[in-house]
Symmetry: C2
Subunit: 364 residues, 2 copies
């Protein structure tokens, strides 16, 4: 039953037998060194004589040896896996971030475990903690969702870096147990609405997110109000309807808005997806966009650019945000828990769906 100190059945050209799995012991034996030396070579330790290292590397290559990750993980008591937890909405914006994240993670020689939290009304921090513990993750990036009443003690105890990207945090503690990557939704929205105002619009509708959806998108509503306020335009709740990210709800929200027969000349929409739905709803009723109604979205998904008319929007630096999330994660990992909060800049893209109307521009 014991392995004898003989050479392995080699994987010959056309040979039928193929040793299923070469392990570190085999490599050690075959290169005439101890196991620990092989391990040192594998992990790039410096204290191995050059010739020894080369010899070992050659054997490794020759036998096509791949170290067993499970064993490594067990010893190191982490998994070289980084979790990404995505809040359950389907949004091309998130898909793109995920992609950027994966590429960056792969560059660091880690793997990405992707999990969608589809339960709608959960506080995502619990799911996050569960995930970390269960899968022994090296780190976790949360995309979207809602962290409320966080048990900072528990999170700190995990000693696993967490980065929240585009995640709503409602919690008034001072402890600093995670990093975050965001844009300033309120300011970005405020600027967008000001752009609308600058085009002479005064009656500006808004399609916001349902209030029970605690995502950062809620702040876009704040920005809307602030912009109105700073230009002395009264806030009229009649002009506000809500949806929940999707084309369809944007479409319906716009219908409700139009049904009210308001003298609206522009609408600011919380997400590009809804903006497209909204635009369609208006156009279906024969309302010309932007001649009769301007529409502005938020996110910067590519689709908005190809819609006819192309949708003016607030562009988030998608890839950069993804990459930064990973960078921060590894920073925290290596520099022992110094967390960072990053705010990215956005850019307003003035496209076809927004047009100047008669009225004078806002002084501001």
């Amino acid at each position: 039953m014991k392995t004898f100190p003989v050479t392995l059945p080699e994987t010959e050209e056309g040979g039928e037998t193929m040793k299923q799995n070469v392990n570190i012991k085999d490599i050690a034996r075959l290169s005439g060194v101890g196991i620990s030396t092989v391990s040192r070579v594998l992990n790039d330790h410096t204290d191995v004589k050059k010739e020894t290292r080369e010899k070992v590397l050659q054997v490794i290559k020759e036998y096509n040896y791949i170290p067993n990750n499970s064993a490594r993980n067990l010893k190191r008591s982490v998994s070289k896996n980084i979790g990404v937890l995505v809040k359950g909405i389907y949004n091309p914006f998130f898909s793109k971030v995920v992609r950027a994240i994966e590429e960056e993670i792969a560059r660091h020689d880690y793997s990405m475990i992707l999990h969608y939290n589809s339960k709608d009304a959960t506080n995502d921090s619990e799911v996050a903690i569960e995930l970390i513990k269960e899968k022994k993750l090296t780190g976790l990036i949360c995309l979207g969702g809602d962290f409320e009443d966080i048990d900072t003690k528990q999170i700190a105890a995990l000693e696993t870096p967490m980065v929240l990207c585009s995640t709503m945090v409602r919690y008034s503690g001072d402890e600093n147990v995670f990093s975050s990557v965001n844009i300033d939704d309120a300011i970005a929205a405020e600027l967008a609405v000001k752009e609308i105002i600058c085009c002479g619009h005064r009656r500006i509708g808004m399609i916001r997110l349902r209030e029970d959806d605690f995502s950062v998108c809620q702040y876009r509503m704040t920005g809307y109000k602030r912009a109105l306020d700073s230009c002395d335009i009264p806030y009229d709740p009649e002009l506000v309807e809500a949806g929940d990210y999707t084309f369809e709800t944007g479409y319906k929200a716009m219908q409700r808005l139009l049904d009210k027969q308001l003298d609206m000349t522009a609408v600011f929409v919380s997400t590009d997806l809804m903006a497209v739905g909204a635009a369609r709803a208006a156009m279906e009723r024969g309302i010309k966009v932007p001649e009769e109604l301007s529409i502005v979205g938020f996110d910067g998904i590519e689709f908005a650019e190809y819609f006819m008319p192309s949708i003016s929007t607030v562009m988030q630096p998608v890839e950069e945000m993804g990459i930064m999330s990973v960078e921060i994660l590894f920073d925290v990992l290596n520099n022992d828990g110094v967390h960072r909060q990053i705010l990215f800049d956005t850019k307003f893209l003035h496209r076809e769906s927004l047009r100047r109307v008669g009225g004078e521009a806002c002084p501001k």
Copy 2:
């Protein structure tokens, strides 16, 4: 340094100390049974007395014990991770499949490791094999991409079930080493083009995929030709341009097509993304869609429905395909390698972008 056989420092209410990680030995000791019994409980083995099981479960719950996955993986010599390898294009179609896959994988209590293969011109099977070996995956699902000259011996030797979903396979072996989930792209495309012909169109353009992109989308070209053929419409290479999935290349391909001043009345486009880009290109030039030019896409992504005009397209059963891929994977896993090839049906969606013209319908 050794752990003494005393009770653990409990996680008391408000207590500061928290035993970092309870393990199976602790649970065994605390519930007064042997380690193997705890293991049996954990793995739902039948040969444990009811009371013992309950006792153990209670202790597990009380101490919030979560088994160490790395250790489990090491013993079981698999990882409870299922890989998903996505070919590097950004396509909302794939994002949606991935999502369906993840949910199904999670339902089985596995994790999904998602990896994007961004290298454009690779034979993806090598990446796949590498991935399986390195991450000790339980199974692998490939989305898109190209398997050519497969080393079936090597794949068989892995003994890891592989499912190819929407993946191009160019290889003439008889051995059956993987399962597949697909639609019949040629037939679906043929039907779509016949629909166009039935609307009276005779000069039908095509925006296909670049020929060096070996994806299943190539078969859509086959379908196009077949449809023309069966209705005795001559194939005219002038009417064909190529792109590579994206809005932008669809847009440009349409421009090239229009530049040629052909008397085209409809265009069949290989992917919805390109179809939208193409529609935009036409409309920008003042060509009315569908009044002057009909456009038909392929895939069934949601966006196509909200574009104005909504894009007629071939709907693939996205979620079903994802779920099926996972189901097959587990089937193969449990029934010892009986592979299956699945073909899903598609559905042609006649929407605004396709309109009847004067000419008589095709007899067929």
